[in-house]
């Protein structure tokens, strides 16, 4: 599953510094509203790229553009390019459904299906017509998401019967069961308490050994704790409406300690939010 999907296989162009994905977003519109502009960011292999910035700066929009989740919004329009192993996922020949099978997503709210814990994790495997040992893969995914010990005796119970933090780890297990290449995480801890948050953060650091992760977070400390690279997004109100854009991207330490842009400095010092 880690191989480049056949349906998307085109001669892979060399990506910027070994990036698995490269987002070259020019403009994103919702109807007539320009939501995000000019955001270029590569996602490097086996690294966590954190997206930070104030509310409405478009960080979630950018994240959701990376697996074409925004296509579900009828008025959404994307201008630019997002390459995945060298191929533009916005190419007319690309099937967004296939893209999402290789670029997994974990959402803000834990969202297990109304089925058993086992079926939740097996969902993606069954969807892809997996023919191997399902039990083994379900166990592996749950172990990978650090919740096997908690749920191994109740795999037949409802996924909705778990606590919020467990549900979120179940959702991570569900997302990694199919072994996607890239994992997009949209504020995965915002609905969790501090202890559950810590567990998910530890998990993210373990997961980057195998996956490439993009993480949207409202929590600057979280970005500092887990992200290797951080992209700061700001809001441009000069054109009369609120348009998000990427201000600066770099190694997390640099963004937080000696950013190049004044706006980034003010934000990471907590001077505005």
């Amino acid at each position: 599953m880690n191989a480049i999907p056949e349906t998307m296989a085109v001669a892979p162009a060399p990506a910027r510094n070994g990036a698995v994905m490269d987002c070259q977003l020019q403009k994103v519109f919702y109807g007539d509203f320009l939501a995000v502009r000019d955001s270029n960011l590569p996602l490097e292999k086996n690294k966590i790229t954190g997206f930070i910035g104030p509310s409405g700066c478009g960080k979630s929009t950018v994240l959701r553009s990376l697996n074409r989740m925004n296509d579900l919004i009828p008025v959404f329009r994307f201008e630019g390019k997002v390459t995945y192993h060298g191929q533009d996922i916005y190419d007319a020949k690309v099937d967004p459904v296939v893209v999402r099978r290789y670029i997994g997503m974990v959402f803000q709210q834990p969202n297990p299906f109304a089925m058993s814990i086992y079926d939740n994790v097996a969902f993606g495997l069954r969807l892809n017509g997996f023919k191997g040992n399902l039990d083994e893969r379900v166990e592996k995914a749950l172990q990978g998401a650090a919740c096997w010990n908690e749920v191994k005796d109740k795999l037949k119970n409802s996924g909705l019967s778990l606590s919020g933090g467990q549900q979120q780890r179940l959702c991570i297990a569900r997302a990694i069961a199919t072994e996607p290449d890239v994992l997009l995480m949209d504020e995965p801890c915002s609905a969790l308490d501090p202890i559950a948050t810590r567990r998910v953060e530890e998990l993210m650091v373990e997961l980057k050994e195998k996956y490439t992760i993009a993480l949207v977070t409202h929590n600057m400390q979280q970005a500092m704790r887990v992200a290797d690279t951080t992209a700061f997004f700001g809001v441009d109100i000069s054109q009369g409406s609120r348009t998000g854009y990427m201000v600066e991207m770099g190694p997390t330490k640099k963004i937080f300690e000696e950013p190049e842009q004044q706006l980034t400095r003010e934000y990471v010092r907590g001077e505005f939010s």
Partner: protein, 304 residues
């Protein structure tokens, strides 16, 4: 501003005053607010009781009047002729089940597919708004008109009353209930669950089949059972479509007996035997609906 008085006496005095000013937390049932609340609570209680009276008295009457005639014979025998004693309504039970079955076979797939369109595919399209409006109008549609409509469309063209026509007439009545209930149940499936399915790489069809329908199943089933219960007890649409028959059903294209029509016919007859059978048939009708309801609840219980 003068300096604050820090003397012991003054502070003790303040403390006493504060203790005296403690609000009373005790109940005062005769206060206007409490009285009003009590009276209104009592009123809702009485109203709920009154609402339950017709239901319980009907069920009580059915058991008292119809219970004694309930036997294997009444459940299987054919209806008696005018002065006969004994007899039963086996053919009407079969007829009702067959016609409700036909109506379910028609209205269930049609209704659920329509609901998928309304709830998921194009909830805000002009077609959806029109269909939703018409379905609501159709729920209040006089059932006899459904019978007349199917009479014109099927009975006249096929030149015979039939179980098929009866089934279609009942389907016309069931369809809006099924559509609206199924739409409601599917619309209640949380968006975040659908997002999760899309995020896993489901096509829209897979999202509907693997997530929306299973999650909404118990709600859909409840609506279907309501529709079936309504259809099973309806006699007006069958008057012009299935008519009645004194014999067991042997083909779907001949007049067919039903419990509702049997009750209608027999209850107006001047013979004790027939009137007793009408009571027993009413009881059986209620029991059939009840049994189906319980079965559906058991099958469609929210598992997760």
């Amino acid at each position: 501003m003068s300096a604050p008085d820090l003397s012991l006496e003054s502070n003790l005095h303040n403390l006493e005053r504060a203790l005296d000013a403690r609000p009373s937390l005790q109940r005062s049932p005769l206060e206007a607010r409490a009285l009003k609340s009590g009276v209104l609570t009592g009123l809702t209680w009485v109203a709920a009781l009154i609402a339950a009276v017709p239901l319980f008295s009907v069920i009580y009457m059915l058991f008292v009047e119809g219970g004694s005639r309930l036997s294997w014979e009444t459940l299987t025998a054919l209806p008696p002729s005018a002065f006969d004693l004994g007899g039963g309504f086996g053919n009407a039970i079969v007829g009702t089940i067959v016609m409700v079955g036909i109506a379910t076979l028609i209205s269930l797939p049609l209704g659920i597919l329509a609901a998928v369109y309304l709830a998921i595919l194009e909830p805000d399209s002009r077609l959806a708004h029109t269909v939703r409006f018409l379905a609501k109008v159709l729920t209040g549609f006089p059932s006899i008109l459904a019978g007349v409509f199917v009479y014109a469309v099927m009975v006249v063209t096929m030149k015979t009353y039939s179980a098929l026509a009866g089934g279609v007439a009942l389907a016309v009545l069931m369809l809006p209930t099924v559509i609206l209930a199924a739409e409601q149940a599917m619309a209640m499936v949380p968006k975040k669950m659908k997002d999760a399915a899309y995020g896993m790489g489901c096509t829209r069809t897979q999202v509907i089949l693997k997530v929306v329908l299973p999650t909404g199943a118990s709600g859909i089933l409840t609506g279907v059972m309501l529709a079936i219960a309504g259809a099973a007890g309806n006699s007006a649409p069958l008057l012009f479509t299935a008519l009645f028959s004194d014999y067991y059903l042997s083909s779907l294209t001949e007049p067919t007996a039903s419990l509702a029509i049997l009750i209608f016919n027999f209850s107006g007859m001047p013979y004790d035997n027939q009137i007793q059978l009408a009571w027993a048939a009413s009881l059986v009708l209620v029991l059939i609906v009840l049994v189906f309801n319980i079965l559906a609840r058991l099958i469609g219980r929210q598992k997760y």
